[in-house]
Amino acid sequence: MSTENEVTKKIASLEENNDVAGLEEMKNDAEVSFDGETVGLAEQAITRLNTKVEEITPTVETTESQKTKIENLDGNKNDLQEVTAPVDEKIAETDIKIKSIETETQKKIEAVVGSEKKLDIENSTEIKDAINFLDQENKISQDLLNEQGFQTLMPEARKFKSYNEHYGTQDKESNSYHLEERIKKFIQLNSPQNESEEQTSEKEKNLMMAVEYRELQDHPYYIEQYNNLSFKDFKKQEPEILSKVRFFDATRNQESRIEKENKEEANKTELIKKYLEDPQTAEKIKSGEIFFDSNTNTPLILEKLIEKGAISPSNVAESLKRYAEEQLKKSKSAGFRSSMSDSEAIQDTIKSQLVHNFGDQLPVNLVKQIIEAGNFQNIFYNRIENDISRHNTGKLYKHVGYQSNLKKASEFITDPSQKQKFKEKFGQEPSELYISEMKQDLENAFNYPDTKENPDITGTFFAGRSFSHKMDGYFDELFKNQIAPREKIMEALTKSVEALKFAEDRKFNSDVPDRNSKIREVIKLNQDGFITDEEKSKLLNP
């Protein structure tokens, strides 16, 4: 790569000779060579980073000699597992942090290399408009960014802000980074070639401050403390003002959050009181008139009313059915279309309420009584069967070599011969529900960036997600209430863990926290006595 000075000299000489062709050629060469070198540099940095991560995360294992020693001393593999489990968990957590730094850094580096392209896209629209506008006003090459020119600049500064919100990410740091880049590009495009670096840099700084200044005009703290402060004076005090404003925002956000939470809590308590004092509440629950109020703690009200003998678990079960029916009606009238049949949708709502809402807040024996009273055991059982079958469907897609695209996937799903293959393998044809859910899974699969690059990642993972994304405590509830045969629950749990391992191996970052929480869930299931040491060990070390 030529140095900047050499490039500048050459440009000056070509300009002097009015050598347009030479300038054009140089521009093209420069673009190719610079781009290539920067991309190469980015690749090198990413490779070095990956190597570093590999170096610091070697596999942690008990050595063969230690294992032999333990065996000779009549030690037990499970006991050893118990000894190492707490530290293994910490190591796993550290590894997750390391992996996340690796992924984040990679993205940041890639963003730097890709930023030119992105800016060109933006440049083609609003930035070009902005340049035209400023050219017309003939301000940019003048001292536009001084106080006098400030009013003229503001509409443009506002536009920068809106690009930032539109194109930037949610990450504030990266937002301001993009904003800075856009401003730099804008100034570069509008600066005369003979302008010194210092002058350009001063303009960039001024525009950045102008954007900040404009934004602060609506800020309550700023209005109170610095109202009518001129841009010139603002520039002098900028770091101090920004720091104070940020501190104000941080404090205000925290205060308003606490205030909101307290208010919600007070409302909830008030509602619970109201429900419990109202002699009609029990009757209203029995008749299905009221069942679930998202503003209050329904399980707690139900528990209290059952305790008082005002309602029975059977009333709750009936009410729950009515509630689920009501929800379905509401969804339909709101125009939501579900891939489930009506009865499946009702069952799904009941299951979800029992597992995620009641399961978290009601005593287990009460949940069990409601399940028995409503004969909901089958709902859980069917759902598990359904999930397992979806998982198998995913495996089958891989098995038959389906690796192509969504169109082929849709054809495959509806192809009668494939349905027959499925039947031969699993003893039943895939139901409409499985098919529609698999379609959804596959659509998701193809929207996943990793999948686009690695088409061999098929339904296996996405069907497995039907387990992996269950909330914490799902399996606990299944075991506690013996809702399905134990081996079915174990099968579902195993697949859930497998799916997350699959995700982790492929660096699907969004699933890593789930994997971590699943490891904790397995450890807890073992502590609670639902799974044996051997099962735990098998799940954690497949």
Partner: protein, 64 residues
């Protein structure tokens, strides 16, 4: 951003990440050592138990 600025930015991002990885790598290494200590402790316990069992079977008192 000019290529030089890109290069500088990449270097900055890279260095920042390496610094964080160094800290986490050290933490992990300490944890791996902690794990080794736990295994050694477990083996030591087993050895003591075994020695005591042998001593008891020979009619000797168990060592501490």
């Amino acid at each position: 951003m000019t290529p030089q600025e890109q290069a500088k930015k990449i270097e900055e991002i890279y260095n920042e990440a390496i610094a964080k990885l160094d800290v986490l790598g050290q933490e992990r290494s300490n944890l791996v050592n902690e794990r080794q200590d736990a295994i050694r402790g477990y083996i030591k316990d087993l050895e003591t138990k075994k020695v005591n069992a042998i001593r008891t079977s020979l009619g000797l008192s168990a060592s501490q």
